[in-house]
C-alpha cells in the first residue's frame, strides 16, 4: 500500500501546454504515472506528450475518468484552476504553483471542503509512492520503494534526506512535499493519520521548518495518536527573526515559530530529532531496532 496515490491514480495535468506542465507531464509519464489527460482552455483535441488535452477539467474527467489533478497553472489563475478541479469531481489536487495569493487559497478552501477534495500544496514539489506513481516535480531516481513515509515542508531538502535514506537501503512508502506556503491543504496531522493507518508504512520522517506552529501541533498529535516511530528534522535553526526564508511560510514572527521551540515540542512527544539530514537514516535504523 501507500497513501494518496498508487497504481490507480489517473492524473489530469492542468496547465499542460505550459513549459513546466508539459515537461513534468512527460517526466511523470515515463515514471509510470497514469497521466490520462491535460487541460488547457482552447486546446481541446490536441495532445501534449501523447496526452489528450481538454478545454475544461469537466471534459477531461468525463472522457478519461481522471481522479487526481496536478496544477501547473500560473499563480494568478491557479486558485481558480484548483476550484475547477474540485467542482469537476477530482478528489485529490496537487498544486505545484508557487506564489498564489494567500487570500485566494483561503477563498477556495471551503469549496474543496464542500466537494470533499483533498489538496497537497500549493508551492510544493508533489508526492510519490515509489514504484507506483509520482505526481509533481520530484526527481524520481533518488526514491526507493520501502516502508518509511515522509512528510516535508520543503523540496530539495526532502531530496537530500530521501537520498540519504535510499543510499542506506531504507525505502519509502510515500513521500509528500506539503508546500512552503502559510496556508496549505493537507498538513502534518492529516498525513500522519494516513501513514498511521497504512499497513505498508512502518516509520515516518517529518521534515519541518521555521514559521507557524504546525510542527508543535504535529508533535501533540503524534503523542496522542501515532504509534509508529517518527524521526524529525527542522530546518532554519540559524534563521534570523522577521525574515522570510524563501518559503512564504518560513518566517519567525515576534519570537514564535522558531526551530528550537519545534525541536523541543518533538522531543517532548518522544520524536527522535536529527541534528543534520545525514543523521536521519541512523535514527530510523535505531527506531526499527527497538
Amino acid at each position: 500500500m501507500s497513501i494518496l496515490i498508487n497504481e490507480n491514480t489517473k492524473l489530469v495535468v492542468q496547465g499542460i501546454t505550459g513549459r513546466d506542465g508539459g515537461f513534468h507531464a512527460s517526466k511523470m509519464k515515463s515514471y509510470g504515472t497514469k497521466v490520462v489527460a491535460g487541460v488547457s482552455p482552447g486546446k481541446e483535441g490536441t495532445t501534449v506528450e501523447g496526452v489528450p488535452v481538454f478545454n475544461t477539467v469537466e471534459n477531461a474527467v468525463k472522457a478519461t475518468g481522471a481522479n487526481t489533478s496536478v496544477i501547473f497553472v500560473p499563480a494568478g489563475f491557479a486558485a481558480d484552476a484548483i476550484a475547477e478541479a474540485s467542482e469537476a469531481g477530482i478528489k485529490l489536487v496537487i498544486a505545484i504553483t508557487e506564489g498564489i495569493p494567500t487570500i485566494d487559497v483561503i477563498r477556495i478552501t471551503p469549496i474543496l471542503e464542500k466537494n470533499g477534495t483533498k489538496m497537497i500544496g500549493p508551492n510544493c514539489p508533489g508526492l510519490i509512492s515509489p514504484g507506483k506513481s509520482m505526481v509533481g516535480i520530484l526527481p524520481t531516481m533518488i526514491f526507493k520503494q520501502g516502508n518509511v513515509g515522509l512528510i516535508s515542508r520543503s523540496g530539495t531538502l526532502t531530496y537530500e534526506m530521501v537520498n540519504q535514506l535510499s543510499t542506506h537501503e531504507i525505502g519509502q512508502s510515500t513521500c509528500i512535499g506539503i508546500g512552503g506556503d502559510p496556508v496549505i491543504g493537507l498538513h502534518y496531522r492529516e498525513l500522519l493519520a494516513l501513514f498511521e493507518g497504512d499497513k505498508d508504512t512502518d516509520a515516518i520522517v517529518l521534515c519541518g521548518e521555521i514559521g507557524g506552529d504546525a510542527e508543535e501541533q504535529a508533535a501533540a498529535f503524534i503523542k496522542d495518536h501515532i504509534t509508529k516511530p517518527v524521526v524529525a528534522f527542522i530546518a532554519g535553526q540559524s534563521a534570523p527573526a522577521g525574515k522570510r526564508m524563501g518559503h512564504a511560510g518560513a518566517l519567525i514572527t515576534s519570537g514564535t515559530g522558531t526551530a528550537s521551540e519545534k525541536i523541543k515540542a518533538f522531543e517532548a512527544a518522544g520524536v527522535r530529532v536529527a541534528k543534520e539530514p545525514a543523521e536521519v537514516p541512523d535514527l530510523i535504523k535505531k527506531a526499527f531496532a527497538k
Binding site: 499563480a75 494568478g76 506564489g99 495569493p101 494567500t102 487570500i103 485566494d104 487559497v105 483561503i106 477563498r107 478552501t109 471551503p110 514539489p125 516535480i137 520530484l138 526527481p139 531516481m141 533518488i142 516535508s152 515542508r153 520543503s154 523540496g155 530539495t156 531538502l157 531530496y159 537530500e160 537520498n163 506556503d181 502559510p182 496556508v183 521534515c207 521548518e209 521555521i210 507557524g212 506552529d213 504546525a214 528534522f233 530546518a235 532554519g236 535553526q237 540559524s238 534563521a239 534570523p240 525574515k243 522570510r244 526564508m245 524563501g246 518559503h247 512564504a248 511560510g249 518560513a250 514572527t253 515576534s254 519570537g255 514564535t256 526551530a259 541534528k275 543534520e276 539530514p277 545525514a278
Partner: protein
C-alpha cells in the same frame, strides 16, 4: 510588504475608517507648520517599518508648538532598531477614554482570515498573546460569507456596553475586513482602536502588510515601498528569480531550494561558522541565475568563502556548473569556493568543473560545511 502608518491611514480613510487629521513631515519646519494648522495638541510619530517605536522614544505627545518642534528635532534622524527615521507623522491628539486591539491576519491553522480583538489595546499584542492568551478573542471569518455586521457587533459587545460605540466599532471592523480582502493584506491592525471622550471610535494607529504573493495584481503598491538597503537587495534578487537575504556572517552560500538553503546555513552554524546569507537559486536550471547569485556573494565584502550546495532534482547540476563557469569568466573571484553537487547530472557537472583547480569539492553537506569553514579561516 510593509507600509508606513501614514500610508495605512490613507487607505483607512479611503474606506471611511475614521482616523485623526494627519500631516506627513520630513523636516522640523513642516512639523511646526502642521502644529499651527491644527492648533490643538498633537502626537509626533516616527514613521519606521519596525515595531517598538514608542519604547524607543519615537512617539511624543506635544501640547505646544515648541514641544512639537522639539520632538521633531529629536525624532527625525533618530535610529530605531537600525532604521533611521526620515519621516514623522503629526496627528491631532485624542483624549482617550478606552482603547482596544483589533487585528486581522491570514491564519495557517483555520485557513481563514482570523479576527483578533482584545481590551489590551495600545500594548504589544505579541506580549498579550504570550502572557494572557485568554484576553484575545479570536474568530475565524468564513471566507465565503465574509465578516457580517452582526458578528462584528457580537464581538464588541463582549468588550463594550454602549450600543453606539459598538455600532461604530463594528462598522470599522466590517470596513477593515473589506479593505483586508480587497487590498490583499497579510496583516491589518488597529492598535489601539480608541474611544475618545466624545464617544467617537477612532483608529489611532494603523498597521497594514500586503501579501507578497499578491503584489503582482497591485502595481500601485510599488510607489508605496520604502525599502532598507538590505531589502532593496532582496527585491532586486527576487526580480532575478533568486531568494536572497543578507545576514551578518562571513560564509556565503548558494543553494537550490529554500529548505535545503536553511539546512545548509544550519550546518555551517552547527560546525562553528557564520552564514553570510540565505540564497536560494530556485528550482529552474537557468545558468544566468547562478551568475547573478555569484555576483551577490562576491559583492558582499564580508564573505570570506562560499559554499555551493546543489541537490539536483529539477535543477540540473551541469547547468549550475555552466553558470559557474560563466560567472568565473565574467568576474574575478578570489575567495575560496567549496562545491557539492548531488542528484541530477551531478557527474556531468563535476566533469565540467574538473579543470577548475581552485574549486574545493565535497561529497556531502557535512563535508562541505567543514571545508568551507576551514577555508574561511585561512582567508585574511
Amino acid at each position: 510588504m510593509k507600509i508606513h502608518e501614514y500610508q495605512a491611514k490613507e487607505i483607512f480613510a479611503a474606506y471611511q475608517i475614521p482616523v485623526q487629521e494627519q500631516v506627513v513631515c520630513t523636516t522640523v519646519e513642516q512639523v511646526g507648520k502642521a502644529y499651527d494648522s491644527m492648533n490643538h495638541p498633537v502626537v509626533v510619530k516616527a514613521q519606521v517599518l519596525v515595531g517598538g517605536r514608542g519604547k524607543a522614544g519615537g512617539i511624543k505627545y506635544c501640547t505646544s508648538k515648541e514641544k512639537a518642534v522639539d520632538a521633531a528635532k529629536n525624532i527625525l534622524g533618530m535610529d530605531i532598531k537600525g532604521l533611521t527615521v526620515e519621516t514623522v507623522l503629526v496627528c491631532k491628539a485624542v483624549d482617550i477614554a478606552n482603547e482596544y486591539y483589533v487585528g486581522l491576519i491570514n491564519d495557517r491553522n483555520t485557513k481563514s482570515v482570523l479576527l483578533m480583538v482584545s481590551a489590551e489595546g495600545g500594548v504589544e499584542i505579541e506580549e498579550v498573546a504570550k502572557t494572557h492568551p485568554e484576553k484575545i478573542l479570536k474568530i475565524a471569518i468564513d471566507p465565503l460569507v465574509g465578516l457580517q455586521p452582526h458578528q462584528a457587533r457580537n464581538v464588541f459587545f463582549k468588550f463594550m456596553k454602549d450600543g453606539n460605540q459598538v455600532r461604530q466599532a463594528a462598522d470599522i471592523l466590517v470596513k477593515l475586513y473589506k479593505l483586508y480582502v480587497e487590498k490583499d493584506c497579510s496583516l491589518a491592525e488597529i492598535n489601539p482602536l480608541v474611544i475618545d471622550n466624545q464617544n467617537n471610535v477612532i483608529a489611532l494607529d494603523a498597521k497594514v502588510n500586503f501579501d507578497d504573493n499578491a503584489l503582482f495584481r497591485h502595481p500601485e503598491y510599488d510607489a508605496m515601498a520604502d525599502y532598507t538597503e538590505d531589502e532593496k537587495l532582496e527585491v532586486d534578487a527576487k526580480e532575478k528569480g533568486l531568494s536572497y537575504i543578507k545576514l551578518d556572517g562571513n560564509i556565503g552560500c548558494m543553494v537550490n531550494g529554500a529548505g535545503l538553503a536553511m539546512a545548509t546555513m544550519d550546518m555551517i552554524k552547527l560546525y562553528g561558522g557564520e552564514p553570510a546569507n540565505f540564497l536560494d537559486i530556485g528550482g529552474s536550471s537557468n545558468p544566468k541565475k547562478v551568475v547573478h547569485a555569484m555576483e551577490y556573494l562576491v559583492n558582499d565584502k564580508k564573505v570570506k568563502a562560499v559554499l555551493i550546495n546543489i541537490f539536483g532534482g529539477i535543477t540540473r547540476c551541469d547547468d549550475v556548473a555552466r553558470g559557474l563557469l560563466e560567472a568565473f569568466s565574467q568576474m574575478k573571484v578570489t575567495i575560496p569556493i567549496v562545491i557539492r553537487l548531488s542528484g541530477t547530472n551531478a557527474e556531468q557537472g563535476r566533469g565540467l568543473l574538473a579543470n577548475n583547480k581552485e574549486l574545493i569539492t565535497a561529497d556531502s553537506m557535512g563535508e562541505a560545511a567543514r571545508k568551507v569553514i576551514e577555508a574561511a579561516k585561512k582567508v585574511k
